[in-house]
């Protein structure tokens, strides 16, 4: 309050009310990718703001909440309350790109379901390693369908609701056909986003576990 002795020029740029300053500090701490120092806060805020005081207000406002205002070295940050860490386990998911073999296998199942392993191999032109389908099943994107009523009664594979959900589809029949893909420019021979290796990595599969039923349709 002793600051009221500011000169006339400063009063032209009067600082926003403290409640407003508190909002600003809240938003900056929330959106910032790293802890923010008081100096940095004041640098960003309008002239005349008192970030230190705003921080104190904010800190007491969040006391006992699910989120806290904490000091990290010389800077400030917002963190979830430590006692709620158990809720955060889901954030620990690490995502990896699906291999090209898996994508192609998945695509064939999606477009041709119900589809046997031999059919997948015939369409891909290479054998499908057991691990690929197992992985898709484990991810719950693919499950076993009815057995095909042909000699050997082979199992078939179909896609799951989890698959549809992940790819934002209402049904597998909504997948665009070849001509539509072409019309949409999707058949252009360019590296897909996230660039999967364009080099033919089929060998990764071929050597795998020496599928005896390779090309059994022949």
């Amino acid at each position: 309050m002793t600051d009221k002795t500011e000169d006339a020029i400063d009063s032209l740029f009067e600082a926003p009310p403290m409640a407003e300053q508190e909002r600003m500090v809240e938003a900056v701490l929330f959106a910032s990718t790293e802890p923010v120092t008081v100096r940095d806060l004041e640098h960003r805020m309008p002239h005349g703001c008192d970030a230190g005081q705003a921080l104190e207000h904010l800190r007491s406002r969040y006391e006992g909440r699910g989120v806290r205002v904490v000091r990290v070295g010389e800077a400030w940050a917002m963190r979830t309350a430590p006692d709620l860490g158990f809720l955060m386990q889901k954030e620990t998911v690490e995502t990896r790109k699906l291999s090209r073999a898996a994508i192609e296998t998945l695509a064939i199942i999606a477009y041709h379901q119900p589809c046997t392993r031999a059919e997948i191999e015939e369409i891909r032109g290479v054998s499908v390693s057991r691990g690929t389908i197992d992985q898709l099943i484990e991810m719950e994107w693919v499950r076993l369908g009815r057995r095909r009523m042909t000699p050997g009664r082979p199992v078939t594979f179909v896609v799951t609701p989890v698959f549809l959900d992940h790819f934002g589809l209402e049904s597998a029949r909504d997948l665009p056909g070849l001509k539509e893909l072409r019309a949409a420019g999707l058949l252009e021979n360019r590296p897909p986003p996230g660039s999967m290796p364009l080099a033919d990595d089929r060998s990764e599969e071929d050597s795998d576990d020496g599928q005896p039923e390779l090309f059994e349709e022949e």
Binding site: E34, M88, T95, L98, P176, P192
Partner: protein, 262 residues
């Protein structure tokens, strides 16, 4: 000829200028509907009250001008011109009760609707882009939480990955010309390898055909490939100085023998 013969073309100077500007900028337009929408603005009225007849006339003037200036208009501009000329005649002539199909008024109303709808979508697009936007006006949490975590791995793939993956497989056949069918192909390298092993024994003139690999003589396609490869390999060996080659006449058997001093 008097001027009033061309009453139809007696448009205001401003309109003429506008039409010229349109033509110069024709590449900037997204098709005839876009041009019509721009032209309709010169009428300075609510799109619902627009005079389609007037608009048709303006558009036809625009196309005529373009022709005068020898500007190549895309086919759809000309299709639109033909259609508007038809519409104009429908609007001007009294309706023929014997004729089927929609009246001029119905067609005009639909065109007006299309223009209004396009304008509305453009306005909507502008409003949409002017909304508060994530990462520009409002922000998500900037920092991921550094709580101790249970690490699980999930695999991700996008719909594009999936569709492109499928497209890649299904269009493999289209790319076949690039992948030679190797079954019936005997390469020059193979022939060369074979010949190098055999020429040591070719002391006297021998028909080249006898150098063809076993099993390649019967099937015509395989024989052709093996003959060509063997011939090319022979020439290569002649060039290297290991072999002599002769043919006594056109289409006569080609004969080979080892070069005496090699």
């Amino acid at each position: 000829m008097t001027d009033n013969l061309f009453t139809e073309d007696q448009t205001s100077v401003a309109e003429r200028l506008a039409a010229e500007a349109l033509i110069v900028d024709v590449d900037g337009f997204e098709g005839p509907l876009d041009v019509l929408l721009t032209l309709s603005r010169t009428q300075k009225v609510d799109l619902r009250k627009i005079s389609v007849l007037e608009l048709a006339r303006q558009y036809l003037t625009f196309v005529e001008k373009a022709k005068e200036l020898r500007i190549e208009l895309a086919a759809d501009y000309l299709v639109m011109a033909a259609w508007l000329a038809f519409l104009k005649s429908r609007l001007l002539l009294p309706p023929d009760p014997s004729e089927d199909g929609p009246t001029g008024e119905e067609l005009a109303a639909h065109l007006a609707f299309q223009l209004e709808r396009l304008q509305a979508m453009r306005d909507a697009a502008a409003r949409l882009m002017g909304q508060d936007r994530l990462g520009r006006d409002f922000f998500a949490r900037g920092q991921s939480e550094d709580v101790t975590r249970i690490r699980t791995v999930t695999y991700s793939a996008t719909l594009l990955d999936l569709m492109q993956g499928y497209a890649r497989i299904r269009t493999r056949d289209e790319f076949r010309p690039f992948v030679m069918d190797r079954d019936s192909v005997f390469t020059m390298e193979q022939a060369l390898d074979r010949m190098r092993g055999l020429i040591g024994f070719a002391g006297s003139w021998t028909d080249m055909v006898s150098y063809l690999p076993e099993g390649w003589g019967a099937d015509p396609m395989r024989r052709r490939s093996a003959t060509a490869a063997t011939f090319a390999a022979s020439l290569e060996l002649v060039k290297e100085g290991h072999l002599e080659i002769k043919q006594s006449d056109s289409f006569a058997p080609i004969q080979l023998r080892k070069r005496p001093n090699s």
